[in-house]
Symmetry: none
Subunit: 230 residues, 2 copies
DNA sequence: GCCAATAAAGGTTAATTAAGGTTAATGCTG
DNA sequence: CAGCATTAACCTTAATTAACCTTTATTGGC
């Protein structure tokens, strides 16, 4: 699937040039000129990265960046700006930006930096563990596809294991439902299927005997695998 | 423990200036001027990040970067260089660099970019700390989505938590209604919806049993989450 | 300056819609 | 046909909308 870039730029000429170049490079690009539309687009478009002009009418870029990061902490945001003073750059990073490019910039630099951010991010996404791990009173043996509770041992299927690992990989962070569906089935058409819910139910029933483990639903967002430590 | 920076620079004057500034900033800095020493230092010093000049005698920076990354794939490498052509920047990223700063640069920029790289790296690694907060007689467990009163525990939905956090984030400061709407729904079209009011009502009823907590309406402005401390 | 009349902002409650949960039945694929 | 994966049908609850009510501002005539 194409990498989705959300590009926020109010200046029409620059906006068009950059958009077209990035599209030629194979990015799935969405250009937004109005700051007020950004948060809405974020929810519907689900970009992999944001490129953000600082000087926008109405909203300023720093505030916008803060809002984006609050909503979606893992999303890289590259500032693209005419302001070349160091103080602006500092403000950009303070607002949660993950990179900062000064105008005039070459398209090549933008492309390289976008790819770099994506690479940094993907390398951080740790591969799913293949070792055993402790979950509350349970022990999960990844290699043997078993969930071992104090009283019984339960065999897991490949799908069950995959979903459980994704849920636990977040370290008490919310795993978006959408991400789960994409990672496990990699398909939009699954988005109205109830299959995932069936697995969630299975997992919940498996962990039922440990009150310290909870798989919380966050409606409209995703799931949170909670291990309540004492 | 201090953050360890391995700084590779052959030019003595620049090397000293930068080293001293970074040390003042609280970094544990190791300056290496000879490319041949880098890999050895890497093994003994175990830096958290590398800052690397491209133009070195004997070895070139790109090759060195490749070797560093091969040895230690998770280690961020910032290029610091006089070469300002895009082709050099591209080569830098291709060699595995994670950021690229052109000379002349301000020390502030270097510091910010170092911190940014470290932040990017650490952001997904650590589990989020349990950011609980005390609100009057209630305890709010953010990670568990619970509001714990002396008598009961109430589960909060994702929206309820989001709004409550925004309201309490201001430390007895006014949160503007339009900011709330923008942050939570990010859309102008919501500005005449009554949804927010419904949530405000829910929150008020949740805190009803504590007379020291008040969610004040400031008509035309916003809300004020008041905790009357003793 | 006082005080209705009116508008605007926000509150309340119930109904609606959409996201997700539950079970059981059906489809696959080795 | 055995065992997992998926779909279907129906249920539950969170999120939103709608309809109507209350309170606070604003304004224009006296």
């Amino acid at each position: 699937m194409k990498t989705k870039v959300l590009y926020i730029e109010d200046e029409p000429f620059l906006g068009r040039i950059v958009s077209e170049t990035l599209q030629q490079q194979g990015f799935d690009l969405r250009l937004v000129a109005d700051g007020a539309m950004v948060m809405k687009t974020l929810r519907s478009f689900h970009p992999d990265i944001c490129v953000l002009d600082i000087m926008l009418p109405n909203v300023d870029g720093y505030t916008l960046c803060r809002e984006i990061r609050a909503q979606n902490p893992g999303l890289p945001v590259i500032f693209l700006t005419a302001r070349s003073e160091t103080s602006d750059l500092v403000k950009g990073f303070e607002a949660g930006g993950t990179d900062y490019i000064k105008k005039p910039f070459s398209m090549e630099e933008l492309i390289v930096r976008i790819n770099n951010q994506l690479l940094l991010l993907s390398s951080l996404k740790k591969p799913l563990p293949d070792k055993d791990q402790q979950l509350g009173r349970y022990r999960l043996s990844v290699s043997r596809y078993e969930l071992i509770s104090p009283t019984t041992t339960h065999k897991l299927s490949a799908r069950e294991m995959e979903i459980l690992l994704l849920l636990t990989s977040g370290n008490n962070r919310v795993i978006e439902r959408r991400d789960l569906l994409l990672q496990v089935w990699g398909d939009d058409s699954f988005f109205n299927s109830r299959t995932l819910d069936v697995y969630v139910r299975k997992l919940r029933s498996l962990f039922a005997e440990d009150p310290d483990i909870e798989l919380v639903t966050l409606k409209g967002k995703g799931y949170l695998f909670l291990v309540k430590s004492t």
